[in-house]
Amino acid sequence: CDKGFEEENTNPDASTDVEPEYMFTKSVYDALNNSTGTVYEFSAGGFVQHFATYLEVPGLGDKYVYTSGTYPYAYFSGAYVNAVNEIEKVVLALEEDESKTNMHAIASIWKVYVYHRITDLYGMIPYSEAATAYTQSNYSPAYDTQEAIYTNMLETLQSAANAFDSSKASFGSGDLIYGGDTGKWKKFAYSLMLRLAMRMTKVDATAAQTWAQTAISGGVIENISDEAILPYVGGQEINSNPISFQLRNNNYSQSNGGSSNTEGGKFSATFISHLKENNDPRLTSVAAVWVNGVQDTTTSIQQGMPNGLVNKPADFGSLSEPNLNTLLSLTASLTVVGSAEMNLLLAENAARGWISAEPATYYEKAITNAMSNIGNLYGNAAAISSDKIQDYIDSHPLPSSFEAQMETIHTEFWVSVFPDEIEVYSNWRRTGYPELTPVSVTGNLTNGTIPRRLTYPPSEISVNTESYEEAIGIQGTDTFVTRIWWDVE
């Protein structure tokens, strides 16, 4: 009486097997295309005062209030059900096949990229037991300490870098970043290792130094040609620059014309003033003011909106916002790991004496690469001439004392790594630069301090209760002010 039922119960619109290349591509998109509105603009991007909004609901980043919505946890939820689950399946599908070690290594590196962004925002997260529900029937993944996660991520990067074998096949065009180039993936692995190593400077300087030196000797992304860039072809939403897509959706559009931005957003006054005061040519590459229905990039009229406002300012319509044709182009490319960041971290290594080199060399190279690549990323309208780059470098020399060097390097980081707000926020928490003045509005949840982390989703509290409670027992209460492992005072 159940003849034909196996066929009857097979989904006619789905396949029964994972196609690693196609799912890997999805995972790469998903890692970048995760809650870009809520994280880039409304939480991390506000914490580091790149963005501002006068509204309350999206005001977590701007004024440390939380009224409703998914702002504190959208990234967490989005990461696990998309990029994490996908990359875990890809890694699993490639694990057994000897002929696919290159692809397995690339996927393993990407897995580290996916996880490190989650743990940097939340601290303890499920890592070793995450996304094992289908394979191991684990429905309540335990949380790993961030220290354990970092240790494992660094080791994973090391073994992946060692596993590459140029005689074997690799991903093809499905690898949107490097087209399967194992040499570049190796640089990517060491670059990520350097990023993670430097993150540990406050909590474990010795380990930080060891891993940084391993990474640097392995070879990190120092030149634009090696940069991990994710291009977008536009068309479908998934093929469009996710920051552009979301920010256009939430705030910045031709029809809003700068005056009726849906979520009340603008560039922060802190960011625009900094660029203006420093004659940073990147100001006109990314920012614009609406004048007669057109975005005007004239430097003199650029002005940001102060963070912490609770009412719409009278001059809202004439404040700077992202340029729809450059930064917010739907086909703008995103930097996954860039040479500017690496050179800045190398400059810090040199300043710390962990490598024997002149920090200014790396510092200047970081600026040069960041500025000269901006036209490649955002189109010709954003391009910066080499004269302007040289002028900027000449007028912003690296100072001599270590602390001043740190401030200059990481203030430059704050500008150069924009708009990767997750990375900028992590770097700010680690280094404290640039020095930002927190706002204080009634009802803020942090006693007027800039948050140190985001909070977990309610679903973890209600249906992964034991693991959640174990985690906060170790890490501290699930609030915006609790510091995560590498972010010691």
Binding site: A14, Y139, V233
Partner: protein
């Protein structure tokens, strides 16, 4: 079925013989006890003889004669000449006969009634009607005629000089020999049932109509819990019988029309609890049934009653029998028209002390007025002027009529015309109906047309064919969204209290762009939504049923049936150009085409035999194949390229996604009935279902079938035990059954992977179900629901009082639970075979006729049901699962071990052991507790009180119903508190608030909130969900119908046979409630997650007129 009969009796009473004939055939005997000598002993041996021949033999030489009409055999005393002789000693012999009266007697369907006794009141003068219902009687002028017949309510008519008196007798529903329709369309005498079945006549639904038939069941039947959804005409229904059986499965009963299952899919799925934009209730299958076509609705409450339906009966079954054609007197045309006005009920009771504004200030310019559009933290409302969001100066006065001013008074116009007729071999009934509704929200309308044809035909001696064809087309325009603020016109409730809703009209500027009235475009302009948003639903539905019955021998018959219920549904939602919250204010397009079809093919063999004189055996075996498909193609896109041109071809981004769900359930079943004499009944059924949905596509799971047995017994003790004269009838019954079910959704046992539409490289992801990540579980097996029930029923005092009391216990084990997963598993939910739920309860039905006189009668029915549900088990280590969450996540619906089905969970202010509020020193506000239970979403206690009064040609029906013991979480009140509309926000407006308690370390803590900052305090209140939970108990005056039967015999117009006009009203008044600012029945989804109020349509109070004509 049986026009011929075989009998073999020796020296049995006429009563026993008649009972045997009734059991063996479809014929029923109708007679007055005085007219037939039931104790006369006879012997008889006939084989496959026509019933009329058999009756000739039985009554030969007796004082009884018979007439057969349809399936009824009327037995009457033979007319003697003496009966019409008026000169009976002791009576008014001096009065000469002055009048010869003639007339026709018909039933409520217009069918002529033979064998009706007609007696001149106070005399022995009498006669009875002939086969065609005609009678002639000679009486004195001023006489009163008394018409009576078995099974009908007696009627008295004063002669008053008339010579023609046509009479319509109404059926007496209180009679004992009641026949009800049970599983698979099998008719059984009610006395033979071993479980609870309640039948409601179609006339209960035809006057004050609900556009969704199922909603009309509210308050009618003990244990049948109807949630009246606040989603307007064309919306769906939620009916739950005896509590929710399954934690995640569909808990609504199976609907059956004329013996074959009907599809009750909610098109496009139930509305979500927190969605926005176009979170619309698309309606379900019961919304496509014309109330005027209903002969009766029979509710099989328990699994025992419905076990023959297998997996789909775990929630009971609702058996709809439609009207059939029959031989007619007159033209056979019926017309039923009604018109109602539907006015919005306003439950809001806001504070009107402080007006729009912030920090004690009213807006001083347009920008402030927009930013503070929803804020009522302004100055004292003093009648001064202020600048509103439109930039104009307006009086700063309380605007209390925004609900009335924004919503229209809706209208509903319903017309049905039915034609029926028939002859010796074939009868038919055709009906056409049109329902036209204008809704509350401007530009909302709904139209439904239903054409239905019923026929049955006798093809030769042994073969009968019956069938039904129904075609149904409905269109709905601009149904209202509910839940979140986006695109929801009901957010008009959140206008500041000094803003007049009409200032927002028409909601758009000269460019067609939505006009902002508050700080966030996500709270849409209600007029913009009403005037510019578009959503269209078009539904074409076709139901066809055919059944052939072949009588192989006198005891054995075989029946083959096939039915198909096919719906083609098309939905388009346009978020127009100029919608501020959409990307680039360029709008969005959402739509889907959906085909839902359910096909059942059934074959059954029936056997019925008298094993001995006292024992009758009935047996049936059969099989059914059910095929269900749900094929949807979704069309979604954003940003219309050419503004105001709303085509799927005109979008910047667009996706087309097909979803095809197919499933098959194969079944075999058997039933066995045994009766002993006329007081002991035994019944057993068995069924096995095989589910395609529980068959792993890779062959790894074969737990795809389940066996369902049921047993029942009934004992009519009043036939055996000597009871007082007034105790007419008493019965005890008990039964036990197991049913169960599979998954509603196919393809959930094995993980699969789907390609994602990409304009670049190919992309693959884990297959999502409705945008959610479902974890496949290949270990699933069917769940089991075990029910036992006991009941006692009795009738007494000349049938003027009766009761039915039932106790049941229903336990579901291995329930397939749709459990939310932590996202860290990589998935959002899965199905586990782990649930255990228990429902036990008592149902009491009392019937009475306190007054029953010739001109005035009062019938009353009271029903009460209490259901105690308890979740006994979830997955190992899992104590709670989340089913749904409100807007903002402020409250959730959970199933929690040890608690009733569907508890509402939320947060409270944290308190220390001494009860002090613990404050968070960072924010200065109370610390939010962990998530905990704050209420129950399902009402355990429900009741209904039906009253029927009749005075001469007037009748009055009054239905009051109520539910008790549930809670509702009100999103409206969250926002009303946040925005300062709620009266509770008056505290601290002048002098501020001093909060005292302890800090996180337990030290005394005080925080002073100045009046200028009072908003931050109330804004923060949303974190403490228990402040917005309300007792959902209510009592409503649900329905009032006042009818006048127009005495058409005096009109003689257009062959009019009967006419009545009625005042009709639904939802007249909320008699008891404990909610603030909203109707306790404010549900906006028919899914399992009940218990939230969230900006649905206002409840409507409907009243109007109904006219029924029969030609």
């Amino acid at each position: 079925q049986h026009s011929k009969v075989s009998l073999h009796v020796s020296q049995k009473s006429v009563r026993q013989v008649l009972e045997q004939i009734e059991r063996k055939t479809d014929y029923q005997f109708v007679y007055k006890l005085d007219d037939v000598d039931l104790n006369r002993k006879i012997s008889l041996k006939v084989s496959n003889e026509l019933i009329s021949k058999v009756l000739d033999v039985i009554f030969k030489g007796s004082e009884t004669e018979y007439a057969i009409l349809d399936k009824q055999v009327f037995l009457v005393r033979k007319k003697h000449q003496s009966m019409s002789v008026p000169t009976v000693p002791g009576h008014k012999t001096s009065q000469p006969l002055q009048l010869q009266i003639t007339g026709v007697i018909v039933d409520d369907q217009g069918i002529p009634l033979p064998a009706v006794n007609i007696i001149e009141k106070g005399t022995d003068n009498g006669t009875s009607s002939d086969f065609d219902g005609n009678y002639t009687i000679s009486v004195s002028d001023g006489a009163v005629l008394l018409f009576s017949a078995m099974g009908f309510k007696p009627q008295e008519i004063a002669v008053s000089g008339q010579t023609t008196i046509d009479v319509k007798l109404l059926p007496n529903t209180e009679q004992l020999g009641e026949v009800v329709v049970t599983a698979l369309g099998i008719k059984k005498e009610k006395r033979a049932l071993t479980y609870a079945v309640t039948e409601v006549g179609g006339d209960q639904f035809t006057q004050a109509k609900e556009t969704n038939l199922a909603n009309a069941l509210s308050g009618r039947i003990a244990g049948v819990n109807v949630s009246s959804l606040a989603t307007g005409a064309g919306g769906s229904s939620r009916v739950v019988i005896r509590g929710n059986t399954s934690l995640s499965g569909d808990n609504q009963p199976l609907y059956v029309i004329n013996g074959m299952p009907m599809d009750n899919t909610t098109m496009g799925g139930s509305a979500s609890t927190s969605g926005g934009g176009f979170n619309i209730d698309h309606g379900d299958g019961t919304g496509g049934i014309n109330p005027d076509d209903i002969e009766s609705i029979s509710v099989l409450k328990g699994a025992t009653a419905a076990a023959l339906y297998g997996s789909r009966a775990s929630n009971g079954a609702i058996i709809i029998t439609t009207k059939k054609g029959a031989l007619q007197t007159g033209l056979g045309i019926e017309v039923n028209s009604s018109f109602t006005l539907d006015s919005p009920m306003d439950f809001t009771d806001w504070q009107y002390v402080y007006g729009q504004g912030n920090g004690g200030q009213k807006p001083s310019n347009q920008s402030e007025a927009v930013t503070w559009g929803r804020r009522n933290w302004g100055a004292l409302i003093d009648g001064s002027t202020y600048i509103a969001f439109d930039g104009k100066e307006h009086p700063y006065t309380a605007k209390k009529n925004n609900i009335k001013n924004f919503y229209n008074t809706g209208t509903t116009f319903t017309n049905t015309v039915a034609v029926s007729g028939g002859g010796e071999t074939t009868s038919y009934r055709f009906s056409a109906s049109d329902t036209d509704n204008k809704g509350l929200v401007p530009n909302n309308s709904f139209n439904r047309r239903i054409f239905s044809l019923n026929f049955n035909s006798r093809i030769g001696e042994k073969l009968t064919l019956e069938g039904m064809v129904q075609f149904n087309k409905s269109k709905a325009y601009n149904k209202s969204s509910a839940g979140d603020a986006t695109g929801n016109p009901n957010w008009v409730n959140m206008l500041a209290n000094t803003v007049d809703a009409r200032w927002l009209d028409p909601g758009y500027d000269e460019n067609g762009t939505e006009i902002e009235w508050n700080e966030t475009p996500y709270a849409s302009n209600p007029y913009f939504v009403a005037n510019k948003f578009k959503n269209n639903e078009v539904r074409d539905r076709f139901i066809g049923q055919f059944a052939l019955n072949y009588q192989i021998t006198e005891d054995l018959s075989v029946k083959g049936s096939v039915s198909k219920d096919y719906t083609n549904f098309n939905f388009t939602a346009i978020l127009p150009t100029g919608t501020l919250y959409t990307n680039n204010a360029a709008g969005e397009y959402h739509g889907f085409d959906l085909i839902v079809s359910e096909t059942n093919s059934m074959l059954n063999i029936n056997y019925n035999k008298d094993i001995s004189e006292d024992i009758n055996l009935g047996a049936m075996v059969g099989g059914n194949i059910r095929k269900y498909k749900n094929e949807q193609t979704s069309f979604d896109g954003t940003q219309f390229i050419i503004p105001f041109f709303y085509s799927f071809t005109n979008l910047v981004t667009s996706t087309t996604i097909p979803t095809n769900k197919h499933l098959t359930t194969n079944s075999i079943f058997a039933s066995f009935d045994l009766s002993y004499k006329n007081f002991l009944y035994f019944n057993a059924t068995a069924r096995e279902d095989w589910f395609s949905t529980l068959t792993a596509s890779d062959g790894s799971n074969s737990n795809n079938s389940i066996f369902y047995p049921s047993l029942g017994a009934g004992f009519i003790f009043s036939e055996v035990i000597k009871l007082p004269e007034w105790f007419r009838y008493g019965k005890l019954r008990g039964s036990w059954a197991q049913v169960g079910g599979g998954l509603p959704d196919p393809y959930t046992l094995n993980e699969s992977y789907t390609m994602v539409p990409s304009s670049g490289e190919p992309l693959q992801q884990v297959t999502q179900v409705s945008g959610q990540r479902l974890l496949a579980n290949s270990n699933l097996r069917p769940y089991t629901s075990t029910t036992y029930e006991f009941g006692i029923e009795a009738k007494m005092f000349d049938n003027r009082f009766g009761f039915d009391i039932a106790y049941y216990n229903k336990t579901t084990t291995d329930d397939i639970v749709n459990a939310q997963l932590p996202v860290t598993t990589g998935y959002e939910y899965t199905y586990f075979n782990v649930g255990k739920v228990e429902n036990k309860g008592v149902e009491i039905t009392l019937d009475g006729a306190p007054v029953r006189s010739d001109s005035f009668s009062w019938d009353v029915n009271y029903n009460l049901a209490y259901n105690d549900s308890k979740v006994l088990q979830l997955a190992e280590g899992l104590s709670t699962i989340s089913v749904a969450s409100s807007v903002g996540g402020w409250a959730e619906i959970h199933h929690e071990v040890g608690e009733p089905f569907g508890v509402i969970k939320g947060y409270t202010m944290l308190r220390d052991d001494d009860g002090n509020i613990v404050y968070d020193t960072s924010s200065g506000f109370p610390v939010k507790s962990e998530l905990k239970k704050i209420g129950n979403s399902v009402a355990p206690l429900s009741m209904g009180l039906n009253n029927h009064f009749k005075y001469k040609n007037f009748s009055l029906d009054v239905l009051i119903d109520g539910k008790f013991g549930n809670d509702v979480f009100s999103v409206l009140n969250v926002y009303a508190t946040r925005f300062g509309l709620s009266k509770r926000t008056l505290e601290g407006r002048e002098e501020g608030l001093t909060l005292t308690g302890v800090d996180e370390s337990g030290n005394p803590y005080t925080n002073y909130i100045p009046s200028t900052d009072i908003r931050s305090y109330y804004q923060n209140m949303k974190n403490y969900s228990d402040h917005f939970i309300y007792d959902g108990s209510f009592v409503k005056l649900r329905q009032v119908v006042l009818s006048y039967n127009i005495p058409v015999e005096k009109l003689k117009l257009f062959k009019l046979q009967s006419a009545s006009i009625s005042f009709i009203a639904r939802n007249l008044a909320l008699l008891y409630s404990k909610t603030d600012n909203f109707d306790p029945e404010s549900s906006y989804t028919n899914g399992n997650a009940q218990g939230f109020e969230s900006f649905a349509l206002p409840r409507t109070r409907s009243y109007g007129l109904n006219l029924k004509l029969k030609f």
